[in-house]
Point group: D2
Chain length 401, copies 4
């Protein structure tokens, strides 16, 4: 008989992974001052400190509170302060006021992280025979990896509001090489989509189910900055015939004339504000930080369209990285599919059921992953989603026909 | 050889139908005063006079201007005043200010209608051998029928703002009989959807294409007022767990506690403001004038869901009116499908291409038809669409599982 | 002893005046259609029908309801629908939705007017010995005269939103002659201001009290359109140094570049939308329909300032129409004085006390009267008041130093 | 002959005062973390770091830039980042985004302060014979003292948004003793107001001029918390008859039911959020952090009114601290006077002229000073001013009749 306190192989892996993911969050905050970590640049973005605290709240609330003997929260107010959107947990601090939480300090949040980490590790030792625990921890880590990506895009958004153009990273970005774009044809037919396997997936990738895909073609790489600049030069932002009606309203109301982070200097040269600071625009890199409106207008201008998420997954499964380049690690790819439950989808019971289902309206699916996505957090079946007007994510265009 | 001026059978039918549809618009306005016809109750609604003018503008702009010899507009300013959303035609009067157009008067708009009607009739005689003309006229008539329905829902919305609860119609509404609800099971599989045939359809119903439908069940009738009242009594409007996140934000921000036109008197009895004035709520009639948010929350409360539009069309085609009651003529049925182009969809070139495609974002499809839909304007493949928060249409719930 | 039913001379005059003022309101509406009379162009403006109804409501509520035996309102709902801002009377129809009141119809409102008129006349006969009654009626008539002026400015605002530039009046406006502007010096000192006499005044003109006025000069005529056009040509709307901070915010937020009703044609020629329709700008007429912001910026540009209301009244009393031209009947003259109670001011008890006092904040006083002011409704002590940003009144500039 | 480099007695005092005021600003920030110093709780408030930087900007821009040889700004971007509202100096960072300026860091701002301080001191030595320089420095110090007060009220506002109720100061607040209120009568007459003397005043206190004051009475102390609580208990926040129309709109729109920082616990006991954290309400202390709307409504409820600023200054001059208690050092006292230029007021030329004049609209004068006002920054003629709805200042009520 196995000693219940002996650490199982699965748990050893879980423990190692826990350390690694949790440590990475702090590493992402390392180049920033406490002041940087406290500011919130818009209601949709959160302060770095809030990301560090909220991901800790998740472990304390959904794991320690349920499984720890004699559970006592690190600080009772944190339950309220760092709840994001779980109505089932109770009242929340107003989302748009996260930047006002100068207390607890970064030091206190770090202390909270270390405390929760230690308690999770003790729990792992005590419940060595509990397969559920590792599943829950894995959910918490996947959740934390999502926030690691948001942390980076939120930092970029914050720093972009500073006229001094501060850089988050000091190293110079690598240059990309030019490459022609080709369309790859797919026959379609009845196809299966959704997550398959026994590793982790989010509930919104399930259940795996059948769809019918009509024949289509998909571009073998993403649209580049240079190609998008040509759209601007051709008056793309001034021609309503190219735009969805709602997109055109947004363009005119906000006077959009270029992607969020593009800036033209007095000589007419394009630059882009990045995590490396303000950089001369690299024409060969994929265009990013654009809304679905802009992606759709660009595709119209090219006489093409955006793929559906079924097409994207079908093609990526069939052709993979061999013929379809830049699927992962460059930027998320807008699809024309609204974010909706798969047939047979069921949200989990209780507060964790609020993770995904209640957001399935007026948002659109992005597929692939971006340069900000943590290693190992990408999947063919992964469904990212944002409103059509969101621009501060690393989001780009893969054309279809 | 056929005399080119001889009226063809197709054209005779077209001419008769033209008279009939155009006449019906005026008949719908007949119970209203000129003052009633001029007011606009919100930006989403239009004055009756505007509907009468805009549908006339459509014929003048898209038919007479192209085909009439020595074309001269009835009034040059009307081209600007009564354009709804066609950027291709030029500038427009601001949508939210349609209620300020006290000039032209109702009498002038009626005169314009008669003038355009006479010119269309002359054109039909002159171009007796032009099959295109009847197609264009049919598009104009279908467009006018859509506005006939909007005219009624807009009037209801306008009159509902008057504390005196004025009635549009004087007759008493018929009572409905109670009837149990049953779920009908469908096997699904590869199914074809979209318009089929050689009669009229809108371009958004095309092309007919294949979809895969997983097995599902659909309710054989709509959710009734009495059933929806039970949801209210059970605290449905106060439980965030039932609602989409965006829906819950809207409910709390606007303090929604019941469907748009429901009012509870001091004795706790429900009434409903209708085109017949304020009426005691009929518990057996389908609940109507609700948003997608409310439809979805209700379905969640029942442990069910809304159908996709593919499921709705599949079921309606297979089971028709024999087993599925209240498909047409009661109220539009919200689906969970966002309004998106069918695979292979292509908008028409020119300004007419703005009819549908540019609205395919952040709107949801309703299927069936309502009590306000003109006779003959319903189809199995018809796709109505509104934003999830729209409540002033005759929109209700058919449950699925 | 006097027969109590014998009409006194005061009452005979009161009765004649009642007929005359009430008739004039209907005469002002005569050039308009029922549609024109129903529309509301912004929350600050009211439909003509509403003015006709509200002035009638005033007589029914504040006179008939108190003094009539067996009082019964003409229609119980009208008490709610046509209350403007009297909290003491109960709930009100929302101000911004007055344009939705297509019922009651203009015909019904006219019938209400005739009914109330007849009842007031009967009351006058029955209470021939009641001096209070004539005072109350006079208050109602002065109130109605205020609404006659608003009726005209509201109609101008409504018609200005119509791209066809409809005219309220068909006659051609008279041209003005050029005339030099001179500054007239006043010594000031302890001066009395406020209404004096035993005829009618509003309570905000009381009590008469002493103020100290330092020496000042006042322009002998109003600023002309031509002079104001020079300010525009000199870049007046683009120089923040000339503007109050709040004014500059409004100018930039709303992109103001000229007075409300001025329009420049393609040849660069100024026109003005007036009650006579669109007219070529008369350079010799006083500039009008400007905000306090614009008046103040113009005065700064000229190196002068606006007068205080104490200076205006002091000068008008001392110099009258002999040396100060255009005091009355052209346009209201913005002063730099905020609308505040005179020392010792006391609002009347009850709902009538809401007439003036509660508006004494963040509004500025205008003195004189305009071309839209009814004959006999002007006084040296009259205090008109509007927020600094109001532009749709006939408001202009008299300079001071 | 005096050595031009010898420090004059005036300059020695100026130099000492410069050190003292500048040092106090840093001392006020000492209890706060860098995170606390960076956050902005609303557009009207500013981060502590911004106050520290902007007051330094003032010295660099208005003194060093003009008088220093070979002037070079400490950092060119700071000129843009820390300009508050001076259009004459050029573009500005958006006011509502001051909380996003995580760079420069607090450390850099401190370094800037030390650098500018040293340069000002050198300038004082070099221009020992320049009487203008000390005047300019004094203006900068008075400006900094104004920001010291704002710094404290802005910190209070920020911390009040934190559910943990953090305290800025740890010491316990002193309790106040009960004391009856008496009205003191003044005869009025022609009176002089405005600054008199040869020490410092702001330009808005000038020129001294004559006003006529009718007889009036003024309360000898401020309204207390206990007295204001009685107003709440009597339904003061629910009775529109007590309120200015605009105040009532604000009360209903924002659901105001008590002063900004008052909170009632579950037992019904009042507490107040202060710089000492959340404290049990002291009934004998002056009520504070209320708007002019609330001050006016309270006075109405008591059958009294607020004083004009002429009355306040007349009484304070005549009766001083002997008979009028709590004139200074408790809380600012709302007057009914709108903030307007004194007769003969002239703004300074250039950008410094934007200090006061352009704000003289839709703001109301407060007299006296508060517990947050720096020692020595109070004067009988001092004119503080805020919009009627401002609540986050230490503002209270002195009654008049």
């Amino acid at each position: 008989m196995r000693d219940p306190h002996e650490v199982s192989p699965g748990q050893a892996a879980c423990s190692l992974r826990f350390d690694s993911v949790r440590r990475r969050s702090l590493a992402l905050a390392a180049p920033l001052s406490d002041e940087d970590c406290g500011a919130q640049s818009m209601a949709d973005a959160s302060p770095v400190k809030w990301h560090l605290a909220h991901t800790t709240w998740f472990f304390e609330t959904f794991i320690l509170e349920t499984l720890e003997q004699d559970f006592k929260p690190f600080h009772p107010a944190f339950r309220f302060l760092f709840n994001s959107y779980y109505n089932g947990i109770g009242e929340r601090h107003p989302r748009a006021q996260r930047g006002l939480l100068t207390r607890p300090s970064m030091a206190e949040v770090r202390a909270w992280r270390f405390d929760v980490d230690a308690r999770i590790k003790r729990l792992l030792e005590r419940r060595a025979d509990d397969p559920q625990l590792c599943s829950l921890i894995e959910l918490g880590l996947q959740h934390e990896q999502q926030h690691q990506e948001l942390l980076l895009t939120d930092v970029q958004h914050l720093l972009s509001h500073n006229a001094m153009n501060p850089a988050y990273r000091d190293d110079a970005p690598a240059l990309a090489a030019a490459s022609p774009m080709a369309l790859i044809a797919f026959q379609g037919g009845v196809s299966s989509m959704g997550f398959e396997g026994d590793t982790f997936s989010f509930d919104n990738e399930l259940p795996r189910h059948r769809v019918f895909v009509e024949p289509f073609s998909l571009a073998d790489r993403l649209v580049s900055n240079g190609e998008f600049a040509a759209f601007i030069d051709a008056g793309g932002y001034r021609d309503p015939a190219l735009w969805l009606a709602e997109g055109w309203d947004v363009v005119t109301a906000n006077k959009w004339q270029q992607p969020l982070y593009w800036r033209r200097d007095e000589a007419g040269q394009w630059h882009e504000f990045t995590l490396h600071g303000l950089q001369r625009l690299d024409p060969n890199k994929p265009v990013t930080s654009i809304s679905l409106y802009e992606a759709d207008a660009y595709a119209n201008w090219r006489g093409m369209r955006l793929p559906t998420e079924a097409e994207w997954e079908h093609a990526a499964t069939a052709a993979g990285g061999e013929r379809l380049r830049e699927l992962f690690g460059h930027c998320w790819q807008w699809t024309s599919s609204s974010y909706a439950p798969y047939p047979g989808y069921a949200a989990a019971p209780g507060a964790l059921g609020e993770y995904n289902g209640k957001f399935m309206l007026n948002q659109y699916v992005l597929r692939g992953s971006s340069a900000a996505t943590p290693a190992g957090h990408s999947r063919l079946s992964y469904r990212n989603f944002f409103p059509a007007g969101a621009r501060w994510q690393m989001s780009g265009i893969r054309l279809a026909r």
